[in-house]
């Protein structure tokens, strides 16, 4: 699977007309001989499968290819970017689940109440707002109020700060992008939580529990939510895909140094290995998320565990 994706992206990237050296060719200070030497060094004269195999070899060495723009292996460029993307997406994921679970469950329990109607209206509105506009809107709020920094991950004087202040600085910069990502993710989650809890609440055993005097709140959060957990855990993996996509846009708008800006710059500069590595990396994140979801499902539901002989 992963091999397939990596090959696909590599193929797309390699099919690109024009390469990095074309830009250099326009520069009269660089002689044609130098350019030819560069082409040989970067293996640009090889066939596409040959280049791909070389790229795979460099992945095995942990280098992920060679960036012609930064003139260094891609690996060391990639890791801090992946870390930064995770710093954004993991809190956004947790936050949106923490809000979506109680909100969805409550509105399922009080179907048709004002809370249900308000949350339905809000989620529908949010669903219609694309992440690009959401990001711009939040930036506008930041600029108008001046409470939050408008971009980047750290302040200018970051290096001079103490360890604790550094953490605080990054946290302040996190507020806007995480809010944006949470708002992108939230409506989908709330809707699904509500739908699956509504399904369960109709079940006979819930009615039985209600009849035997189990308080409503306990009924919802203990009995109903637990039973509804399975599809929700699978949803975790699915929602990750949307979150990663949104993260690309939000990161770029808010100049957060994650995978997104790296990919965009690389596309602009025709930096083949960086593009292939960034896209493959995002897929790895996605698949890892799905693995986590499967693991959780395994823990949560004894029915799917294989029978031990």
């Amino acid at each position: 699977m992963l091999v397939g994706v990596s090959f696909l992206t590599f193929l797309l990237a390699a099919a690109a007309p024009g390469s990095f050296v074309d830009e250099l060719r326009l520069d009269p200070r660089i002689s044609p001989e130098t350019i030819d030497a560069m082409r040989v060094r970067y293996g640009a004269n090889d066939t596409v499968p040959g280049q791909y195999v070389r790229w795979l070899q460099s992945i095995a060495r942990g280098e992920f290819g060679f960036s012609v723009v930064y003139n260094r292996p891609v690996g060391p460029l990639l890791w801090p970017r992946v870390r930064n993307t995770l710093i954004l997406t993991v809190p956004a994921m947790l936050l949106s689940w923490l809000i979506a679970l109680p909100l969805g469950t409550w509105s399922a329990g009080r179907k048709g109440s004002w809370l249900d109607r308000v949350s339905a209206g809000a989620t529908t509105t949010l669903l219609g707002i694309p992440e690009l506009l959401l990001g711009l809107g939040l930036l506008l709020v930041a600029v108008r109020t001046g409470y939050f920094p408008t971009g980047g991950m750290t302040s200018l004087n970051f290096e001079d700060l103490g360890a604790w202040q550094k953490v605080r600085d990054v946290m302040v910069h996190l507020v806007l992008p995480v809010t944006a990502l949470t708002l992108v993710n939230l409506p989908v989650l709330v809707r699904h939580v509500r739908a699956s809890v509504v399904d369960v609440v109709r079940a006979r055993f819930i009615q039985a529990a209600r009849a035997s005097g189990v308080p409503e709140r306990r009924l919802l959060f203990r009995h109903a939510l637990r039973t509804a957990a399975n599809p929700l855990i699978s949803l975790f993996g699915l929602s990750l895909a949307g979150l990663l996509s949104a993260s690309l846009v939000i990161e770029t708008i808010m100049s957060w140094p994650g995978l997104g800006p790296l990919l965009l710059d690389a596309v602009g500069a025709r930096d083949l290995h960086v593009v292939a590595a960034a896209v493959t990396c995002s897929t790895v994140l996605l698949i890892a998320g799905n693995l986590v979801a499967d693991g959780l499902l395994y823990l949560a539901d004894p029915r799917i565990r294989p029978e031990r002989a």
């Binding site: 994706v5 690109a16 219609g128 694309p130 600029v143 690309l248 708008i253 596309v267 593009v275 896209v279």
Partner: protein, 332 residues
């Protein structure tokens, strides 16, 4: 839910969309200015106030605008910059405008002093057509590939569906930019339009293909299909006459769902400078100036393309919702 009239539901968003699209087609006539005419000394001018009452308190019969102290009435069917609608029809008449020294910027100007209102209309041509055409194209791919996979089964099915999984495994925007990488960096706006069409079609074929494969799988088992086969219908006949008609509702709903997503794809690509380039306006590249801090904070009318995008999105979602209900309500 059954008591609702499904037909009513989609006439309203559909009618509104038709109006928006007509406005885009007749952009040349409706827009008072050419979208790429610059007036450098009029950068970031706020929207021109259209008045009926002048400073002395007198009411005018025609709306007018001030240029300094002098009022200029707004004229209709005025002569202005030449334009074309499609390839057939060219003219110099614009629906409205004002005489030369005065200016009529209904929605202000951008950093080069170009009229936002005209650019919004012209931009709609690209932004609004790339999305739905791309959606139709990828649903068409989906029908062909998904139909073939479901109908023939076996190794054809395996290959097509495995390939589809590859496309589904990559986060959507990452895939979009990866496909963008395969195409040249600097291209003409007309080519860019075609390029965006092909990008979104390539990126998006897998989801409709999956759905349609499922439909075809169950569809080809129907008794009447078996009967037709027994009567000697060829594969092509079977697919075309008997199986695909079952799929059309789903395909239409998919297209309506994909269209806004693709409109957004165009806007995002152009926003990041990888789609339709200047001087041709598109809603995405009009929003791109908002990446500048001073523009973001000071010139609210530069946000208007965002509002236009939101409105069109809403209409498409309403339409998709209504279509979905209608398809679900159909028997079978």
């Amino acid at each position: 839910m059954q008591s609702r009239l499904p037909d009513r539901h989609y006439t309203l968003p559909l009618a509104a969309l038709v109006v928006v699209y007509l406005a885009a087609i007749f952009a040349g006539f409706l827009a008072p200015y050419d979208p790429s005419t610059q007036s450098r000394d009029l950068a970031f001018v706020p929207p021109t106030a259209v008045r009926w009452v002048d400073r002395s308190g007198a009411i005018h019969l025609r709306p007018f605008v001030y240029d300094g102290e002098r009022p200029y009435p707004i004229r209709f069917l005025v002569r202005g910059a030449p334009y074309r609608i499609g390839r057939l029809f060219s003219s110099e008449r614009h629906l409205f405008g004002v005489d030369a020294p005065a200016v009529l910027f209904l929605l202000g100007t951008d950093g080069f002093g170009r009229d936002q209102f005209s650019r919004l209309l012209y931009g709609a041509r690209i932004s609004l057509f790339a999305g739905p055409l791309g959606a139709l194209l990828s649903v068409a791919f989906g029908i062909v590939l998904g139909g073939a996979a479901g109908f023939f089964g076996g190794w054809i099915d395996t290959i097509i569906m495995r390939a589809g999984e590859l496309f589904l495994a990559v986060p959507w925007f990452y895939l979009l930019f990866a496909v963008r990488m395969a195409l040249p960096l600097r291209i003409e706006p007309q080519e860019a339009f075609l390029m965006i069409l092909s990008i979104v079609a390539v990126v998006g074929w897998a989801r409709p293909a999956r759905l349609i494969r499922g439909m075809v799988l169950s569809g080809k088992m129907r008794d009447y299909v078996t009967a037709a086969r027994a009567l000697g219908a060829s594969n092509v006949q079977l697919l075309w006459r008997h199986v695909l008609p079952q799929v059309s509702g789903i395909a239409l709903t998919q297209a309506a769902l994909l269209a806004p997503q693709y409109i957004l794809a165009e806007a995002t690509l152009s926003f990041f400078g990888l789609g339709v380039g200047e001087p041709v306006p598109s809603w995405g590249n009009m929003l791109a100036v908002l990446q500048r801090y001073d523009v973001l904070s000071s010139y609210w009318w530069m946000f208007l393309p965002a509002g236009a995008l939101l409105g069109v999105f809403l209409l498409y979602y309403l339409l998709a919702d209504a279509l979905h209900e209608r398809v679900a309500a159909l028997p079978g």
